[in-house]
Structure formats: structure tokens, C-alpha cells
Symmetry: C3
């Protein structure tokens, strides 16, 4: 299936520089574009590839002006990155992988309810009184405990484990090995030095349009619910402790950990390997650098933090410059 | 099922301030207590909720004196947090979820032995010569390799994988996705720059009363055993490398990693995302702050450490204050 | 089965100090060697155990000279650590655990191809058009998606999940719970503050002789392939994001994370809990200390880095010494 630059420009509302009849049949990265492929340039760091790229069509941002000759036909759009997503969606839709039906080797409780068009893969388990909304895809070897609700059009990848009573909204994607609803880490010390388990009687609620990464863990609340609000995107290997709330449209990179009862605001952007102490509040739109340690409330909306314990990004970089200078054997100490 | 303040106070050995006939039928967090619920105040940080809380009964510590009027009936106890645990236990016991019997779709080797009242869930696998002690609950999709011993009254949640030969004591809880007994990371460099695998021929031993978090990994020993002593509590996504020993009643928060052959003492409290170098010893009762890097032996019992490489907590905070001051553009550099 | 010091010395090309007829029937750690066992001393840190060790035979490096009397027969070899590996290999080979055949409860698509001597364990799933090379061992509860290629003599441990289209070379070992080919974390912001998923249409390629640790995650590429080159060894709980390349013979310790599109060179040694920013290049043979944060290109081959953001190892240690001195209440600020 080939698409011409002209069709693409029309689909995306873009502008053509070069041959409108140039055609591409697949997508490639700009560093490896060959004739017949479509590439895109979104990150200026890769600009130098633009001038040697052999692709037939390249999507670039309208604001970008090439400084050298480019052999490909350019399609200029408002946002090249988003435009590629939109094109890939088109392509994906054409070769959809939606599955249907219930595998013979799955185990679905009599009292569970499956909506229209639900797929339940081989060796999947669905417990008592659970409900799976229409069109949702439950892959092989998934475990859905008793009384769980999964909304419509979700994709639950192989080996995901959802403990009893948890609630997952519509259009959610949960990747392989993720665990939803394991017990929170709560123990009371006793007189003899051992610890007594605090029963964790709450649940996990994941609202609509969330994506949860592979092997990420979200613990159930001690009481009430651990809450992942609408549109949150969690990467792989993240730890979300009991009683945590993550505000809508917040995105969190891999291996970050959030301790118990902390509330993260909306539309935050959080880097990888960040640690949040327990019982703190983080304001909306906070931007937290990778590996930061957030030990106290973040009160300012849109704050940009770094370091452990975290301080302002610029402050940290200046402080670190001094720290580093001290390592060069200077005389100022 | 309703319980009155009077019954609760008797059960807990507490003291009533207010109406002894006030009744609650469920438990709620103090920030969302409604009439008919029981709340508790353990963390002084949440004190302000006490004065607006609509709960019928609130548990508080004996040492705490409210500074404003409280509408709820108070039950004053020695330790409100522990008291709630005790109440929840009571509640939980009433609606126990113990399962029995062996699912038809499980695979249990002929030479495996299951004790009385053992539950083996759907699609679970139990290998040759393994033994499961009485009353233990093996959830669906669990893998128990050959020659494994699981003690009595354990709960092994869905998807846990236990490699051959490992030993798990009594009353242990292992959460979904945890891996027990994977090969230690041992390789010998060879002349051509590649690495040769060192066979990992030992096992993992988990003693009684341990809890292991979701997706946590404990590697088998090169020889002998990796040892998790009695009463250890490990949170989610923790890495325990080969030949490690963790002393009894030590608790470790999520995403911490312990490198090979390190010995952690007893009754330590270790924060999240901490890293321990290999081949070191950590004294009993050490308290290690989140994200610390422990690069050398910790010799002092009860030491409180922070930073990477870790130093004393107070020392770190003072040093960090100087570091931070340098980031504010001060003139002392 | 007993082996004499003489046989061992011949097998390893070593030299005997003591009784050539001393015999051992099992291997032990040097701190717990009893008569009839063989121990080894590779790390000088453990030298003191040498003088009290009751083992019958001890392997040591040729370059090592004991400073006190040793009761055991010594076998001196070029590299004691490697020598033990070689001995254990011999032992292991004698009690091999290779399995064969396809479990009745597995699900293998009609169009999948299994090579000679392949083992497919209980409740394992192998998708359409996938190919498993001869001798490979697919343990229970593994998921192999559609169109996956697994080479010869691989071991895929219980519960591993391989998404569609991924390619695994020969002689690879993948530990329990690892996820290969989950979607990369790619989202484009939209005008209303929500995020739109960027389809991840690429795959993961793992070349020959790699080992992947338990619960480690390797995301599929947006386009093209995420690439793990020949001989790479990844420990447990590692995050490898989309479009990453890891060069051959690089070893990475547990809980390290590599952000999208970063290229790690060959023969690097990377500690635990390290974080790599996205879109950077790391030169061959780099040595990165545990918990470091690599925020920019590492250009120098063999560079030794530490800290976050990472700087030279020595520079860091000097700078940290100053930092620490500031915490002792000195007057230099």
C-alpha cells in the first residue's frame, strides 16, 4: 500500500515542498530512511540526518527551515511528531488485531459477565461476579480476581494480575506482568520486635484512558481506594503504594516509586527513578527530573525540581557546578 | 454488622470520651469519615481533619489532647494505629476467604505432596517432589518448581514463580509476580571479551512469617542459600541478589536493591530505592533513608544513614544545606 | 561422587600444594568449608577465612601467597573464580535437566514450528507462525506471541512474556517474569491536556548468548527494533525503553533504567540502579558506578563515571569528600 505526499498533506492539513507524487509504503527512522519510506524530523538533535536521508517523504514542523538541500519531498505540518502518530493510527486501523471469543482453556466463573465482543485468551482466569466491558481484550494467562470491573475496549496483556474488587475504566491498556491491587505495605511493630500485618481492605481504581506499563505494581488501599485518575500514563516497573492518588493526565517514567498516601497533582511530568516520600502533596503540573527525591510537599504549580532531596532545577544545577568544581582540586576550600 | 464504642473500648482496653452507644459499621479514612463509620488519627499531620470529621467513632492515642471540639465519640487507646489493625483483623476473620481443593486445570506432579486443606488454583503448576504444607493457598497460575518446600498457612498469590529446590517457611505471604530462586548474576570474563556463566547451584530459603511484595525478585545462591530470615517484610519490586542474607524482622521498602553476598542485620528499617553494594555487612537496627547508596560496611548498631555514598543523617542534611546554599548564587565561592 | 585434588589440578591445569589425594564431593563457600568440600578464594577480602577453613581442597590464584598455614590442599590456578565455574559446569553436565516434549495443557498454534528436542511446558502459549529452534526449553506459563522467533538451545523460564514479532537468538536465557516487546512509552500531548498514544510498531531483537534477568522489561521500538546485541547480560528488574541499543558483551546490574533511543556501547560495565537519559550515546567499555545518572553523551572509551549528573569517578569522590566535610560543621563556609 503506497501513499503519496499529496494524500498525506491533505490528510494532515500540511504543505508540500517538492514532488507531490512522491510515494511511501512504510515508515522508517530518519537515520535509516530508504527510498519508498516516510520519515519525520521532530527532535532538532537529528537535523543532520535530514540532509543525507534517502527517504521519499519527510514530515517536518512548519517552523523548521532546512539549512541545506534535502532530497526528499517535505510535508510541513504543525507538529511532525503528532502527525506521524496520526498516520500510524491510520495504518494500524487497516490491519487491526482485535480478537474475539473465549478460549476453551480459559477459566471464567459462572457469575462473571462478559460484554459483547470480549476476547478471553487461553489459560486466562476470571473470578466470581467480575464484569468485563464490551470489546475488551483479555490476553492469555491474565488473572482477574473476584468482583473486578474492567470497562470497555480495554487491552489487558498476558500475565497481568488484578486482585479482587479492583476497578478499571474504559479504554485502558495494561501491559504484561503488571500487578493491580496487591496488599499495601503496612505493618505495626509489636513488643517483641516482630511486625503485625495491617489488613489492606481497600481497592485500586483506575479511571478511563490510562496506560499502565509492564511489571508496574499498584497496591490496594488500606481502606477506600488507591486512585489513578483519567488519562494517567505510567511506564514500566513503577511502584504505586497504598492510598496514593495520581491526578489526571499525569505521566510518569519508568522505575519511579510513590510511597503511601501521597497525592500527585494533575498534568505532572515525572521522570524515571524518582522517589516520592509518603503523605505528601505534589501540586499540579509539577515537572520532576529523573532520579529526584521528593521528600516534602511541592506547593507551587508547575514547579521544576531536581536532586535528592529535590530543590529547584536551576538552583540544583548551580549547586552541582560548585560541588563539581570542588572535585577538581581547586583551592577555594 | 454494627459495633458500639463501648464494645470497641472493651475489646481494645480503651477509654471513651462521648457517647458509649455511638455505632459504626465500616471503617473510613479520617478525611472522609461519614456518620456510621469508624476513623482513626495516628499521624498528627492529619489532626485538622479531626475537627471536621463526621464519623461516629474516632480512635486516638491516649497521649493526644484535641485542641478543638470534636463531634465524634472518641476511643482513646495506647496506639491507635495498632488498634485499628486489631479491629480490622476481627472484621476480616468474620469474612475469611480461605479456599480449599485442587482446580482441575492445575498440574500437580504425582510425587508432590499436598497437606490438609491446601488450595491449588486453576492453571497452577507444582513440580516433582515438592511439598505444600497444610492450609496453604496456591493461587491460579503460580509456578512451583521441582523439590520446592512451602510451609503451612502460606498464601502464594497469582503468577508467583518459585524455581526448583527453594524453601519457604510457615505463614509466609508472597505477592503476585514475585520470582524466587532465579539465577544469581554471575559471569566470569573470558579472553575474547565475552562472559561465561557461573552456574548458580544454590537455593533461596525464606523463613517463617515473611511477606514478599509483588514483582520482587530473590536470586538463588551460587552455592548454599540466599537467606531471608524469620519475620522479614519486603515491599514490591525489590532486588535481592545471590548469597545475600537479610536478618530477622528487617523491613525494606519498595525498589531497593541488594547486591551479591551482602548481609543485612536484624530489625533494620530500610527506605525505598536504596542500593547496597556487594560483599558488605550492615549492623542490626540500622535505619537507612530512601535512595541512599550503602557502599561500605555499616558497623554501628542503629546507625541512621542517608545519601550516596551514605553518611550520617544529620551530617548529610547539614552538608546538603551548604550544597543548596551554593546554588543560590552566594558569594562564598 | 568424589574428585581428588590431582584430578582437579589436571582438569584445570593447576598446581598442587599439599596432599594430591585429598578428596571433595561438594562445593562450599570459604566461610563454611567442612572436610570433604572444595572451596575457592577469589576475593582477597575473604583471605582471613583461608586460615581457618576446614575444607579438603581450596582453589586459589597462582599469584596469591598465603601468609599463614593452611590446613587444606591448595590447587593454584590462573583464575580461581573461572576455575570454579568450569568445575561446576562439569558437575552440572552430569546431572543435566534438559526436558523434552510438549505438555498436553500447553497451547501451540497450528502454524507455529517447533524444532527437534524442544520442550514446551504446561500452560505455555505459542502463537501463530512463531518458530522455536531446536533444543530450546519453554517452561510452564510462558507466553510467546504471534510471529516470534526463538533460536536454538534457549531457556525461557516460567511466566516470561514475549510480545508478537520479537526475535531471540541462540543460547539465550530469559528469567521468570521478564517482558519482551511491550509498547514503548510514547505519547503526544494534545490541546486539551490529555495524551495520544503513539503506536509502537517495531520489535525487540535479542542476539545470541544473551541473558535477561527476572522481571526485566524491554520495550519494542516505535519503528525498527530495540536491539540487544550478542553476549549482553542484563540482571533483574531492568528497564530498557524503546529504540535503545545495547552493544555486545555489555553487562548491566539490577534495577538500571535506559530511556528511549539511547545507545550503550560494547563491553560496558554498568552498576545497579543507574539511570540513562534518552537520546544519548555511551562509548564502548564505559564503567558506570551504581546509582549514577547519565544525562549526556559519554564520549571517552573506558570512561569511569559516578554521581548524578555523573562525572568522573575520582572527581566525584573528591567533590563528595568536600561535601561531606561541610556536613561536619567546619568553618570553611
Amino acid at each position: 500500500m503506497e501513499i503519496s505526499a499529496k494524500v498525506i498533506a491533505e490528510h494532515l492539513g500540511g504543505e508540500i515542498v517538492g514532488d507531490p507524487e512522491a510515494k511511501a509504503s512504510s515508515v522508517a527512522r530518519i537515520e535509516s530512511g530508504r527510498p519508498g519510506t516516510l520519515c519525520f524530523l521532530a527532535n532538532p538533535k537529528y537535523e543532520h540526518y535530514l540532509y543525507t536521508c534517502k527517504a521519499s517523504i519527510i514530515l517536518i514542523n512548519k517552523t523548521f527551515e532546512p539549512r541545506e538541500a534535502v532530497s526528499a519531498t517535505l510535508v510541513k505540518v504543525d507538529n511532525a511528531y503528532e502527525a506521524v502518530a496520526s498516520l500510524l493510527d491510520l495504518l494500524n486501523a487497516l490491519k487491526s488485531e482485535r480478537r474475539r471469543g473465549r478460549a476453551f482453556s480459559s477459566r471464567v466463573a459462572w457469575t462473571a459477565k462478559l460484554g459483547k465482543g470480549v476476547y478471553v485468551g487461553a489459560m486466562a482466569y476470571i473470578g466470581k461476579k467480575s464484569r468485563i466491558g464490551k470489546g475488551s481484550q483479555i490476553y492469555p494467562q491474565v488473572y482477574i480476581g473476584d468482583g473486578v470491573t474492567v470497562g470497555e475496549n480495554c487491552i489487558i496483556y498476558p500475565g497481568v494480575k488484578v486482585y479482587k474488587g479492583c476497578r478499571i475504566g474504559n479504554n485502558c491498556i495494561i501491559h504484561a506482568g503488571a500487578v493491580i491491587g496487591s496488599d499495601g505495605f503496612g505493618f505495626a511493630p509489636t513488643a517483641d520486635g516482630s511486625y503485625k500485618k495491617i489488613p489492606q481492605t481497600g481497592i485500586v481504581t483506575i479511571e478511563d484512558d490510562c496506560e499502565i506499563g509492564a511489571n508496574t505494581v499498584i497496591d490496594r488501599s488500606t481502606m477506600g481506594t488507591t486512585l489513578i485518575e483519567k488519562g494517567v500514563k505510567l511506564d514500566n516497573l513503577i511502584q504505586v503504594a497504598h492510598n496514593v492518588t495520581i491526578g489526571s493526565n499525569t505521566v510518569i517514567a519508568a522505575q519511579t516509586g510513590i510511597a503511601g498516601s501521597t497525592k500527585i497533582g494533575r498534568s505532572c511530568m515525572i521522570g524515571g527513578q524518582v522517589g516520592f516520600a509518603g503523605h505528601i502533596h505534589v501540586a499540579d503540573k509539577a515537572m520532576i527530573g529523573a532520579q529526584a527525591g521528593i521528600m516534602a510537599d511541592v506547593k507551587e504549580e508547575g514547579a521544576t525540581l531536581m536532586g535528592s532531596p529535590a530543590i529547584g532545577h536551576k538552583e540544583y544545577m548551580r549547586a552541582y557546578a560548585v560541588f563539581r568544581r570542588n572535585g577538581r582540586g581547586s583551592k577555594n576550600q
